[in-house]
Symmetry: C2
Amino acid sequence: MTLKAQYTEHSMQVAYTPKQLRARIRYGEYQTNTSGQCQGFVQGNVVILPEDWAADFLRFCQLNPRPCPLIAMSQVGDPLLPELGDELDIRTDIPRYRIFHGGELMQEVMDIVNHWRDDLVTFVLGCSFSFEEALLADGLEIRNITEGVNVPMYRTNIPCRKAGRFSSDMVVSMRPMLAADAIRAVQICTRFPSVHGAPVHIGDPSLIGIHDISSPDFGDAVSIHEGELPVFWACGVTPQVALETARPPLCITHSPGCMLVTDLPNSKLAVL
Amino acid sequence: MTLKAQYTEHSMQVAYTPKQLRARIRYGEYQTNTSGQCQGFVQGNVVILPEDWAADFLRFCQLNPRPCPLIAMSQVGDPLLPELGDELDIRTDIPRYRIFHGGELMQEVMDIVNHWRDDLVTFVLGCSFSFEEALLADGLEIRNITEGVNVPMYRTNIPCRKAGRFSSDMVVSMRPMLAADAIRAVQICTRFPSVHGAPVHIGDPSLIGIHDISSPDFGDAVSIHEGELPVFWACGVTPQVALETARPPLCITHSPGCMLVTDLPNSKLAVL
């Protein structure tokens, strides 16, 4: 066995720390989605905007904390986010980035070192991985995980509050549950307001403008078993829709599923 | 205007303290149900049993805290409950009592001074008045209050855990709500485990063995508006059903709606 093969075999068994995983990402050793990596640590959605768009976006997040729970915001032009991770550099530490011009996806890249500018501001928003981990730890089933697919997401008719050039109806994710589990999920998720918090709707999808639960607008459909209620959470795709509509000249995001892995334990996001 | 008429007119406007109301009850000046009295203070369901039945009933409460949330238990033979109220005497301080022999209602009385025995033990269980007050304070509508009727209650097929001679399926109360209000109600009631806590079921009544939501087993039917979900809470009628089935030789309870008014602020029952 070569030294490299030994290293690879060994690396399969290693649970990397967030800092170690970010280093691997930085050096091109890890280039795929981060689901299931660094369990117990917060992963974040990333939005990078020019300074003259950042104030509106910040206000949009503050007015709509359920779909846009802001975990951190950088200084203007500073690629570091020390409050989220030791040596964390937003230009290199995400596996894949998407670059949008005027709301149009232009390219997908492995780092943004050559795209960085002194006027860019980074926003990190909480994601559902954190609360899914808390639900699983309590013994609840999460159907999209059981079925090995992306969570189903739907456009709704629930309006977000408008902030400058940003507006959108809320996008929600859906996890089917028995009523007793849905009640337990409300309790657990209420502890985590910065990763979307409690569900926004339970039951009849048509009451929030969803007309076909079997055809999600994003992600994959999942089975809903007899006696289960669909349980809907505000979803981090909402700000992406708002960004597509607002069409800023430049916007950089993570690629779906390829999140920013932080040093924050999920438990630090619990308000109690 | 006579002195007595002046007193009566004045008394209509007085908000009695719990201690004052208990004194009025003790002296026969207040003989009806306590709903809406002494707002902000805990009212309790009362069960009085001989010592040789008390251990089983205590264990039934401990095994089934949702329908039987125990707030206080007296010493054997002691009619006072100092932890619930200054000078509170369980023999005189409830407007009406019911006396059961072998599970059969024998009489309704205004005090139990002549029925008291040295082997009796008093149990006080939390009641829904406390959480209804918290829901109203948050701006939620409670349909049975809006419609001026008793809350509808239903027998279910949710088994309680058996304790000695006590067993029962759970009885639940129902309040219809829009989904967002139901989610908020879960959050609020979770803070109050000793007054039944979070709902036990939301949605399809047949899943918990209720076949006709318009025909409650106890209390009155209420309107369910379009788009509302029935929300079900564990109910304090459950231990009454268990007592009827167990048929202890003697059991004394409050009359429905004529509760024990305590000195405990409702807020003291909040776990956070």
